[in-house]
């Protein structure tokens, strides 16, 4: 689905590359975790894949192949066609990532509105079913609400609905659970897992939280200072981390301690 080869990105504002010679692959139907601390370059990578980093603000070499199409060299129009239709994205802060003055239903429909000629009724129908797929309990009622009227967890589900409504091949999730309460976190992770399995949508899951990645993803890539230091199967990497940085990350996960009975 997604094949990145030797990606190096230098932002015009700074001197050194923030992403160095990164190669990773997300296979069809797979969930890949991209892990690293702040400044590791994982967000820049994600934004570049999603086409959200303006081309003139950076210099990028390498390839980003989405089902064969190179997102780095294609035309702006072609890139826009991929955005929303073939690539969906959800962000960390659902409150600010939604337009506060627009009803939620309309925002869910937006990709359909941009990429197809569906009628108003068709759009609404598809929005409602996407919202149901995102496990929102009463899509009809929520459709007309504004973001501030919903809870954090519901807003994130709305964002997910909006991202999957076009049945994209790839869903990029940039720290979607970091701003949520722990219980809601678990629900969203479970939801993403279900979407991955049932709809076959590949997921690129970006996080600094290894334990969350472990629950959702089958493969993981670890980034440090713009480079991928380790990549492989999740369980393998957790039990046998080869790179010292990876070892440190795993060691720093707070362990659950068994209560004394």
């Amino acid at each position: 689905m997604l094949d990145i080869q030797n990606l190096t990105i230098t932002l015009n504002m700074s001197g050194d590359p923030v992403v160095r010679d990164v190669s990773l692959t997300v296979n069809d139907g797979e969930a890949l975790g991209l892990v690293g601390e702040s400044g590791s370059g994982k967000t820049v990578t994600a934004l570049t894949i999603a086409g959200l980093l303006p081309r003139r603000a950076m210099t990028a070499t390498g390839e980003i192949l989405l089902d064969g199409a190179d997102l780095l060299t294609c035309s702006r129009d072609a890139l826009r066609r991929h955005q929303g239709r073939d690539i969906g994205m959800i962000f960390q802060e659902p409150m600010t990532s939604l337009n506060p003055l627009m009803r939620v239903g309309k925002q869910v429909e937006e990709s359909i509105r941009i990429h197809t000629n569906a009628t108003k009724a068709q759009r609404r129908e598809r929005a409602l079913s996407a919202m149901a797929a995102a496990e929102l309990s009463d899509p009809e009622a929520i459709y007309d609400k504004y973001p501030h009227e919903l809870s954090g967890g519901m807003r994130q589900r709305v964002m997910i609905a909006a991202a999957i409504i076009t049945d994209p091949g790839l869903l990029i999730a940039d720290e979607p659970t970091t701003a949520l309460d722990v219980t809601i976190q678990a629900q969203i992770i479970a939801l993403l897992k279900r979407i991955n399995k049932e709809k076959g949508i590949s997921i690129l899951f970006i996080s600094h939280d290894l334990s969350v990645v472990r629950r959702l993803c089958t493969r993981v890539a670890v980034m440090q200072d713009g480079r991928i230091v380790e990549q492989g199967d999740v369980e393998d990497t957790f039990s046998n981390p080869k790179d010292p940085y990876t070892q440190k990350l795993i060691a720093s996960i707070p362990q659950r301690r068994k209560r004394n009975e």
Partner: protein, 312 residues
């Protein structure tokens, strides 16, 4: 609904207080109007007669009450300088100033909104840079100087109109409007520049926000993001600003009417102040104050309707 009633009550109270203050300012503080009008040489009998005639004797509150009655019933008091009721002096001036204000406002909206939107879509584009450079200069030109320049260029050189040659609408509606365009432009241009600055700043602020990034991630192009997303988020500061702008337009018209010789409220105010004709000055100020306060009230109501976050 409750909010509306509360605000409406506040409005009424404010209007009352303002009119009372204006009354105190013009009728009580300046001291003896009789001496001012008739001079210090006048005999005590004449002074007294004047005071009786103008109702200047007696305690303050009943005088205020009488003035209030006069104001709403018809005469609005009598001028000190001319032998006319204030009402007659106002005559058609309210309408004239009203038309000028309306024309200026329309011009501001027609100029500012398209220029702002078209120039802010590409924050680093040429249009944006030109507007950033030219805007402060236009803003710095006082409306009355602009009026003089317009008179010079369009009146004297291009001879499109005769500066000072006001045409009333009873003579010719077309001529009236054609003449009023120029003072309206003199007022509108600097105000549009201010509006453009505000609107562009608001747009640029919004473009930094997360929901814009989300819209782009769905494949929206620049135009869609601007008109369907950003615009509605900038409406709120825009509306409050436009309400303030009308008040500013009214203030500017006071001076601009002088430049073009337009017989409106502004000129009347200026001449009545020079003549120390307080009842007239007071009436004009009260009228203008009422308009400004009511406009603010209206803009507050509209603001609440537009922003769903406040409605809760």
């Amino acid at each position: 609904m409750r909010y509306f009633l509360k605000k409406f009550a506040a409005l009424m109270i404010t209007l009352f207080i303002v009119s009372l203050l204006a009354f105190l300012a013009f009728q009580v503080i300046p001291g003896d109007a009789a001496t001012a009008k008739l001079g210090t040489e006048a005999t005590p009998e004449k002074l007294e007669a004047f005071r009786e005639e103008m109702g200047l004797n007696g305690p303050v509150l009943p005088r205020y009450g009488r003035w209030l009655g006069d104001f709403f019933s018809g005469t609005m008091g009598r001028s000190y300088t001319y032998d006319m009721t204030v009402r007659d002096m106002l005559g058609s001036r309210i309408a004239v100033t009203g038309v000028l204000t309306a024309m200026s406002f329309v011009l501001v909206v027609l100029i500012a909104i398209p220029v702002s939107l078209l120039s802010s879509r590409k924050p680093n584009g040429i249009a944006s840079k030109i507007v950033s450079a030219v805007n402060p200069v236009v803003m710095a030109v006082p409306p009355f100087f602009l009026g003089i320049l317009l008179s010079f260029v369009f009146g004297l050189i291009l001879k499109l109109f005769t500066p000072g040659g006001y045409i009333s609408y009873s003579e010719s509606v077309g001529g009236f409007l054609g003449y009023m365009v120029f003072p309206a432009i003199a007022i509108a241009l600097p105000k549009s520049a201010m509006t453009i600055r505000l609107l562009r700043a608001a747009v640029f602020d919004e473009l930094e926000k997360d929901y814009v990034r989300t819209a782009f991630s769905r494949g929206a192009n620049g135009r869609r993001v601007l008109y369907r997303h950003v615009l509605r988020n900038t409406l709120i500061p825009l509306i409050t600003f436009l309400a303030l702008t009308v008040a500013d337009i009214v203030a500017s018209s006071i001076v601009v009417e002088q430049v073009f010789g337009v017989p409106g409220l502004g000129r009347l105010l200026v001449s009545s102040i020079s003549n120390r004709d307080f009842p007239v000055a007071q009436a004009v100020i009260v009228i203008i104050a009422f308009v400004v306060i009511v406009l603010n009230f209206l803009s507050d109501l509209i603001y609440r309707r537009v922003d769903p976050r406040v409605r809760a």
